[in-house]
């Protein structure tokens, strides 16, 4: 029975990670080998594709795309924490907006984002936020808010209220209390939420596609450029290498922090 469980586990892992594994393998084949040998076996492993990416950096600058992804994701996730943390505290302790604001934000998760995409595009075009990391980050913040707010509210609810009361007796203001007592206690929750928000933001595609053309193109959008990087046909090897680089950061985070991410996702799903 245990053997069967292992087999099922192996099949599940292989099947679910199938595209990533195949792409990883392809990225180590030469262009000629890709055309002649589509199997999982690599006859002559090479790093040429990875070098190839940087050889055409003047046309498609992968480092620039990665930096854009990084900057807008950090900004987007950080901003959502910054907005959600005080709000979550007020909701949990003073019940401010618990009735309407919390459900409203939590339900955003269920609304197709495309609804807001068009007006935001038109507004952005007016105010000059189109194709900027900041503009993208503001939207990534919205994308993240539902999960971030629900998770932070849940973890703040678990903190003992006696601590607050003790501090109040000592004469601390709400803000001092939040800064000196609650924030340190909530740091682990904030860190996990930040990681999760970063991963979500990194993987976002729709808004990145609509709102960027050059300066703020992120790697999810930029990767598709490499499919047409040569006139005569698809450069599969280069495209594969780019995709590997693009999925690496969130995957590494996922492998390192799987336990915390798993707990947060489960909590966010049940409570939201």
């Amino acid at each position: 029975m245990t053997a069967l469980r292992w087999i099922v586990f192996a099949i599940a892992v292989l099947a679910m990670n199938f595209p990533v594994i195949s792409t990883l393998i392809t990225s180590f084949k030469s262009e000629a080998e890709i055309a002649g040998n589509p199997s999982w076996w690599i006859e002559a492993p090479t790093l040429a594709n990875y070098q190839g990416i940087f050889a055409i950096a003047d046309r498609f600058d992968i480092l620039h795309y990665l930096w854009n992804s990084f900057a807008s994701s950090i900004l987007g996730a950080g901003l959502s924490l910054l907005l959600a943390f005080p709000a979550a505290y007020a909701m949990v302790r003073f019940e401010t907006g618990q009735k309407w604001l919390l459900p409203l934000v939590a339900n955003l998760r269920a609304i197709p984002l495309i609804v807001f995409a068009i007006p935001l595009y038109l507004v952005y075009a007016r105010v000059g936020l189109l194709d900027t990391e900041l503009g993208l980050a503001l939207i990534l913040c919205i994308v993240n808010l539902p999960l971030v707010l629900v998770l932070l509210a849940a973890s703040l609810r678990d903190l003992p209220a006696e601590l607050d009361e003790a501090a109040r007796v000592d004469g601390a203001s709400t803000f001092g209390l939040l800064w000196r007592i609650v924030l340190p206690l909530a740091t682990p929750a904030l860190a996990t939420t930040m990681v999760l928000g970063f991963v979500y933001a990194w993987n976002e595609f729709l808004f990145a596609l609509m709102l960027t053309t050059r300066n703020a193109v992120t790697t999810t959008v930029g990767a598709s450029f490499f499919f047409a990087a040569s006139g005569g046909g698809v450069r599969w090897g280069t495209a594969a290498a780019v995709m590997v680089l693009s999925v690496l950061p969130p995957m590494v985070l996922g492998l390192l922090l799987y336990r915390r991410i798993g707990q947060s996702l489960a909590a966010g799903a049940v409570k939201g």
């Binding site: 055309a35 950080g78 595009y121 047409a228 698809v234």
Partner: protein
């Protein structure tokens, strides 16, 4: 609060990276020979001694997928991101409101010829420099067709297959004499599921993705049978024998399995990948594909074995869809003066020779082409074909031309995929076009 500090540092970095762009920015057509050619031309221009530092040219490219849509929204939003941008004959009407007409140097007609300059004109005004002319070739594998034309056993088999599938016993003829029937018989012969002895898996590769450019390629079948978008009074004429024959031809080829099964998701790049793999005998494709497919480093299997002719003939003769690509001036350009200087240089014979040598496909007068005729013999062929076989559909340069192509792409791919009947697709197309093209 380290997060806040990090965030503000990032903000500052973002602000910096988008500042300070004094040069002339050019938005080009990405991913093809046009791109490498424009690159070389820009390098040559920037290396000239009399180009001021602030007028140096910087190129930007984004994805081909959705290119015109994004360009449209950027132009409409008054984006100053680029000073010069790509224009195409079929898109001029749509973009003209956001572009500024230009005065090309008096010598321009001697470089391009008046006819080619008109591919960049709208309502009588010149909107750009015509850098490339695009048309379609019938690509074929010379080695395979040669054997077909000389091997009696193959010819016998060809006869059997054409008798069985097309109802008439046919003899192979040279590609430059093909009718669509000959093309169809040849593709059937070279399809493994029809002819198990075929050296290739497929007889042809059709680009049938729901994408406007694919419809342009297909239009050559329509025009060769005398079809057009509308007649001179402006009545829509797509529900005609010519459209039906062309649509049915693609549908038959697809249903018979002469083209890869996923052809309904194929466009330029996928088709080239299929042809380059050596598993495909013929392909109706843009002229721009030739240099890469014929390059031994990029396509070792087929390089040196490729022949190109004009698309096959129908009742009305032999035709190829043509359009020009070029560069024009954005109304919201931030460096208009510098941009015009670059355009003026681009319209000289010197610039176009650099451009052509680097793989571009400008249509030039014999006089302008002469110094590089040896390196680019195909450009003479390009000019010839455009003159002999080129056509633009009636309405194909109007403000709504792109939307018409989009509409046809959706309806016709729906028919090819078996989503709707031929009558439904044609009726919906005619109705939509009547709305789009009404005066």
């Amino acid at each position: 609060m380290t997060i806040a500090r990090l965030a503000s540092a990032l903000l500052a970095a973002c602000a910096l990276s988008s500042a300070a762009q004094a040069e002339v920015t050019v938005l080009g057509w990405p991913g093809g020979p046009e791109e490498s050619a424009l690159r070389e031309a820009a390098n040559a221009y920037n290396a000239k001694g009399d180009v001021a530092e602030a007028d140096k040219v910087e190129l930007i490219f984004f994805n081909r997928d959705g290119f015109w849509d994004k360009l449209q929204t950027d132009l409409a939003a008054g984006s100053g991101e680029f000073d010069l941008n790509l224009l195409a004959t079929y898109a001029i009407g749509r973009y003209a409101p956001f572009m500024e007409p230009v005065m090309l140097p008096d010598t321009a007609p001697q470089v391009f010829g008046e006819k080619v300059l008109t591919t960049m004109q709208f309502d009588g005004a010149q909107y750009g420099v015509p850098t490339d002319l695009s048309l379609h070739f019938m690509y074929f594998r010379k080695d395979l067709i040669d054997q077909l034309l000389s091997d009696p056993a193959w010819q016998e088999r060809y006869k059997e297959i054409s008798a069985e599938k097309l109802g008439q016993a046919m003899t192979p003829v040279r590609p430059d004499q093909w009718t669509w029937n000959d093309y169809q018989a040849t593709t059937l012969f070279f399809t493994k599921s029809v002819n198990p002895d075929s050296p290739t898996r497929y007889g042809t590769v059709l680009q049938m993705k729901n994408l406007l450019f694919n419809i342009m390629v297909w239009h050559s079948t329509v025009r060769s049978n005398g079809g057009d978008w509308m007649d001179e009074e402006g009545n829509i004429t797509v529900d005609s024998a010519a459209f039906r024959e062309g649509l049915e031809l693609y549908k038959n080829l697809y249903d018979e399995g002469t083209t890869p099964k996923d052809s309904l998701t194929y466009e330029f790049a996928e088709a080239n990948a299929a042809f380059g793999s050596g598993q495909v005998a013929t392909m109706l494709q843009w002229n721009a594909a030739f240099p890469d497919l014929n390059d031994p480093a990029k396509a070792p299997t087929v390089a040196g074995k490729i022949g190109t002719v004009a698309p096959p003939a129908g009742e009305a003769g032999r035709f190829t869809h043509i359009h020009g690509l070029g560069l024009g001036l954005n109304k919201a350009a931030q460096n208009k003066e510098g941009a015009v200087k670059f355009l003026n240089w681009l319209a000289t014979a010197e610039a176009m020779q650099v451009y052509a040598k680097a793989g571009g496909a400008p249509a030039l007068t014999a006089q302008a082409l002469q110094p590089i005729a040896e390196q680019r013999p195909d450009l003479a062929q390009l000019g010839d074909y455009a003159g002999q076989y080129g056509f633009v559909m009636n309405g194909g340069a109007s403000a709504k031309a792109l939307s018409v192509y989009e509409l046809q792409a959706e309806q016709f791919t729906g028919y090819w995929a078996g989503q709707k009947s031929l009558d439904e697709a044609l009726a919906a197309t005619a109705e939509g076009m009547a709305g789009l093209l009404k005066k």
